[in-house]
Symmetry: C2
Subunit: 263 residues, 2 copies
């Protein structure tokens, strides 16, 4: 999928009877981190609006303000074609169980067809009931360690939103907000060989490579150290400055002495 679909509408995040405003806010923040914006809340315990939701949303207050609130789950999903029910517990119902990678890819494909998708999350303490799961098409669960399966709502939203965002890029690294800093261009082999010559001649003056029959191997190992890290031009200049400094000799050509004796 090309980069320009990465900003697609994204799945609706449906919170079913969330108990704590803090969690609604944190869920909105997690949505914003990874490009989701359609928040739907079914019968929030503390009503709506909710100050704690707004306070915990960080910069994602626009998601809180645009959130739609419903009395019943059925109302929250009428415009959707496909709903995943997120649950940490096995359910005695014949539905496919998917992980976030599969779900993200599938949601992107459905979106490309213009179909509305939703991700359903349950209550803090006990998740979704079986009737709510029955309204969903498939079950989504995270690859947790079974003994420590409990994530809070916002964390579950975060992981799925993260996978959805990644799935919008062919190259996952294209999804990163910044790349390695390029303060200096990479050194060319001429500069690298200049470094080798400089260092090796200084070390030869000090008989560093002994016994002489070991010199070729030591030279190769030494060059491997510097070859491996893709030194930049600036870094080679820095290393050569260090070698010069340690060498102790002044390698700059002497300036002619003026009439008053200054160099």
């Amino acid at each position: 999928m090309s980069d320009d679909t990465a900003a697609g509408r994204g799945p609706a995040i449906i919170l079913c009877e969330p108990q704590m405003g803090e969690n609604i806010g944190a869920a909105a923040r997690a949505m914003a981190n990874f490009g989701l914006s359609d928040l739907r809340i079914v019968a929030p315990r503390d009503g709506w609006p909710n100050e704690k939701a707004e306070a915990n949303a960080a910069k994602a207050t626009h998601i809180i303000h645009a959130a739609r609130v419903y009395d019943r789950l059925e109302e929250a999903i009428t415009d959707l074609s496909f709903v995943y029910a997120t649950t940490a517990r096995d359910r005695d119902v014949t539905k496919a169980v998917r992980g976030p990678v599969h779900a993200a890819k599938h949601m992107r494909a459905l979106e490309a067809q213009g179909a509305g998708v939703g991700l359903l999350f349950g209550r803090e303490r006990w998740g979704l009931n079986n009737d709510e799961v029955a309204l969903a098409d498939e079950i989504l669960t995270l690859p947790v360690v079974p003994e420590y399966a409990s994530l809070n709502i916002a964390q579950a939203v975060l992981v799925v939103a993260y996978e959805w965002r990644k799935a919008g890029f062919e190259d996952p690294d294209a999804a990163l907000p910044f790349a390695a800093s390029d303060r200096s261009p990479p050194a060319g082999k001429a500069e690298l060989l200049g470094l080798f010559d400089h260092l090796e001649s200084v070390l030869d003056e000090r008989h560093f490579f002994h016994p002489p029959e070991k010199r070729p191997t030591m030279i190769r190992n030494l060059r491997a150290i510097f070859q491996r890290q893709q030194l930049t031009q600036q870094e080679i200049r820095t290393l050569r400055g260090i070698i010069t400094c340690l060498d102790g000799k002044n390698h700059r050509p002497k300036k002619p002495v003026t009439d008053n004796g200054e160099a």
Copy 2:
């Protein structure tokens, strides 16, 4: 990588001057969710132990109790070979920048060689300083939407721990804690054809397929509905019971009437 390495030691999670005990606890909980256990804390603002850390760790209190505390970051990384510095901001330093997928794969590979790995996370408000980043080998960043780049520490730990866990399984679905429920075996074609015969004969009796020239197409479309979902044996029995019920006729062979008139 085979499944039995999924439980590998995992990277050390190093929190640099964390300000809030709640975040330390939440980070420990996120570690436990995905199988990490080596928590290291450098100069926690509120000292150690920290009640809020313990209270917010959910079932992961063992990670809190085993956490190692250091005065300086250098001490926390002495036994490690490779450290990722997690940061949301571009840094003016020549280091590779990786996403969580790459980092997880790389960490697994290093682990397989017996090398110790660490993931470094900074302070809540402003992350890591440049000297701390300089102690790391590479930079790790998450594929966030740049305008909403801020995750809290536990959430950043969660995403990276999640990718690490996934990277321990060849098949991501093998990492899920449960699979689809198999309450009934899949129906065989004989049972499916029995369903088709039943339904289609009942519908023929009611002249459902009209005009007659459309019947073959309508039959194919109807069969496609039931064919597509891999019905189980129980589900076919249920559907046939529904057809029978709607049909209104009693298809069971009549029992012989007894002398007193009962069937």
